[in-house]
Amino acid sequence: MASRKLSSFWLLMGLIGIAGLIPAVVSAQTPPVEQGGGSFRVQCPTATIRHPGSTATGGTGTVVTPSPDTAEANYTGPQVRTATKSPDGHTFPSLTFTDNGGAIKCQEISGGDGMMTEADGNQTYMFSFGPLSGLGAIQNGQPGTTFPNVFNSPYTAGDSLGNYQNGQPNPLFNGTSATDPNAVGANSAISDPAGIMNTGVLNGNIPAPLIAFDEDDEFFLTLSNVGMIMRPDLFEQHTVPFHGYPNASSFYDGVPDATWAINIGGSVTYYYLAPDAGTYFWHCHVTPPEHIQMGMVGQLYVRPRHMQIHGFDPNFHFVGMTFNPEGFADMKDKYFLLNGRSYPDTVGVVAGTTVDGNTLPASWTGGVSGATNPNPSTNAISTTDTDSINRPSQPMPTLIVLNSHGGPNATGQRAALRIDDLDVTEYQTLSSVGIPMLMVGFNAKLLRDEAGNNLYIKTNSITLGGGESMDVILDSTGIAPGTYFLYTPQLDHLSNDAENFGGLMTEVVIY
């Protein structure tokens, strides 16, 4: 906003702030919850009034989930329960809850910048979010959301030398591989300021880290603003709006005009009680035409597969890396992205990999062999940043593999596509050739009328505007084995800038 015009004043403060932080990081990481050391801090309680686990909270009734910090409990119906004390010991008159179970989930992300690789090989500068927890899972295309016991454990992973992404040593390194999707030490939150800066700077992902939790969970999302090292003239705050949250509070809605935004060098934690299940998404709401175009877009589902449509205008991104005023009226996307990748990178997986539990059939001759990028163990595409260090930037291919007899009673497997669109300039259409689409949800709501009649739509194409989400089922029953395409019939969007063939397209392999 207008604050940029005050940059000379703020910049001075910013430099002091960051200079103060970096020397303060010598101490070893002190897990969990809160510690000193600048303004970076994470929050992930192991018990709350709603999810006290085995902590005594007085009152009456049964707690549905006995260990909300480590596991889910099977849903057995609601329990009415009262509490007279919070887990941290504050007493109050009896509060009555309908306990539906659920657990506590936490995640940490960075707000900053980074580079990504377009399908024509061009490297594009982004304002972006990156993972600061669940790093191992995210590199493998999975959500980075964890239980508190994982989140609050020390981050003990590193590369083969025990270093953070930027080459600085992780003093807690104990041999854990940074790309391990399951190891606790590779998926815990990085909560000390040194680790946050050593990991968060330039680690932007497109799309931003995937978030997933279940209805009735309590979700704690910490955003640490690591600054944009390529744009030291900007002193940009960042926010996370939970796009579409029903009956939202303004406070955690992330619109900087309506509430607050986090400055560089600090962390804030957003709190959400999981709303109705559905496909939502998130993005930065600070100067949205700039920050969203520049890549601050993520996906979020309140429990299958998620696909995000986006577009990049390379001219805008080039201007965004420089120090010139940006034009909005002339913004025109030239790259069209599904999960941050254009065709053929959308199907850029290493040959022979397993996709969603299905082994790629030998008849599918796509993919890359002998590759180092995408990473042969995770399928994540990495980009060499301006500090010559390679960081994972686009962890999520959109190749879909379905067994046409692999479902219940030998029916075909079905894929649920959770599709959202955060293009800031145009409407986008995605069409399916050969496999019909069944649109079952729109904007995180099942398509039903008030009388309970289905309003599902059987179609071969869907159109979304920026800020919309849709749930679509692809059913492989009766579909002949082969390779099918999801692509945009907006034919000028089937391009990667000057390359005539590419863009908004991916493949569905049926075997």
Partner: protein, 549 residues
Amino acid sequence: MNHLYSRNWWAVSRFLSVVVAAIALLFATSARAAAPGITVAAGGTFNLNAGAGYSSQPDGVAIYSWGYGCVSDSATYLPADFQGIGHCPTMQLPGPTLIVHEGTSFTVSLTNSLPTPAGNTSILFPGLTVTATSCGATPNGLLTCEAAPGATVTYTVSAPVGTAGTHAYYSGTQQDLQIEMGLFGAVIVLPSATPGNCTSSATVAAHRVDYRLAPAAYNHALTCYDREYLTQWSEIDSRIHAQAESQLKLIASCPTITAVQFSCPTKLNVVTEPYRANYFLINGRSMPDNMDANFAPNYPNQPYNANPHMHPGELVLLRVVGQGHLQHPFHEHGNHVRILARDGNLLLAQANNPTGSTLLAGRMEFNTDTTPGQAFDGIFLWSGKGLGWDIFGHTPGNAGNPICSSDANGYFTTASGASIPTYNSAGTMISGSSNYYEWCADHNVPLEANPIGSVGAGGPITLPDPLIIADGLWFNGTPYLGPDATLRSSGPTPMAPGKATQNPTPESGIAFMWHSHNEREITTNDVFPGGMLQMMLVDPYVWNIDETL
């Protein structure tokens, strides 16, 4: 080359316009909206004029435009509270909102006062029926009866039963130019009968001013509402407007140039493609101008604002019309919108439901697309249900902590002992429950683990350190709704709670952005913020919402 495309000029204008936008924000007052318009008795005549003028944009630019207006500045305004406030200039953007009743007819007399080189003009009323025109059986235009420069035509329009709702009207002549120049508006058709379950005007009036045009949008029990806002979404490609203006000047001056070597042009020949919108308007204004009052004197040709306010639990009717060239994904922060109808056609469920009553079939959407020439009605409601913490910051032991007992739906309403908030003529709340329509399951549930001020402890989270966050213009300084909680939970923040320019302490509402999610459209000629952006405030019941301010 046009001076608009000089790079230096552009850079300077961008800087200046940021300053202008910032200053405008500082001085804007907390204004409200409603859906004001003009009306006539059944069978009466709207005397409209098509004329030229300028629209004011927040970057300081006055853009040459055409619009519908009134032949003389006298009309009957609705809601009735706007009678002493409203005015109707000879051209306005958008045109006057015409409010009529289902089952009646009305006449529109249109005088063409556009510059002569602009040629004929006309009006189309899609969704309504034009039963007669002054052209007789053979219209002189391709689509309808057209008024030649300086001439007047009439349209007799029927709004039969079944046409209630929101409709667009716009020019039927050379539309690529005339609609772009601003010749569009809206017709609101009020239902012929009101369902018995809706809150009557008399009941509302016993507690507060009723700003509704009717108790229901349709003659259907599920379309009652408490408050309503009309928004019309359009764009401007300023190059087209500049071309029209400069050609008109050339045409006017051409015969006076001596030794003319060529024949003077007499008609406009404006190139309208390729289309490149650079201004994005809601109700003819760009943000932040749309936050000033309806009929604010600084926008003589743009009388309508877009500044929705509501109380928790109120059913808010959104009347939305797509005008102009482009679709816009209108994103409502705060909650989903229940779509009621498209172009005045109520969307009803198939009848195979257990009660046999007709239920609604419109989708619940958090993004409601606006499409040129199309209108939709939707109902929005915000209650804070399911947040998991008390939005009012209620804390047992604090003086005045109210009760909350659940009605059948879980809310605190008259069915469970609440009394309806009532305001005196000065707008002060004199009786009623300040936590009317609270979601009782979250009553007294704390948010903060380490609270600031006098609100409950033991909650799940510690709020952000106020020293490391940047506060927004609409931020009341706390997570809570209402001055009571805001004052109780005040801490040493950089901006004292309640100092928000747009949301002062006595109001202490919570704000939600309602905007185009094609985010490049929330700019004004390349400057952010601007364009298609409204701020909706949920206000506490202690704050009276005066839609005329």
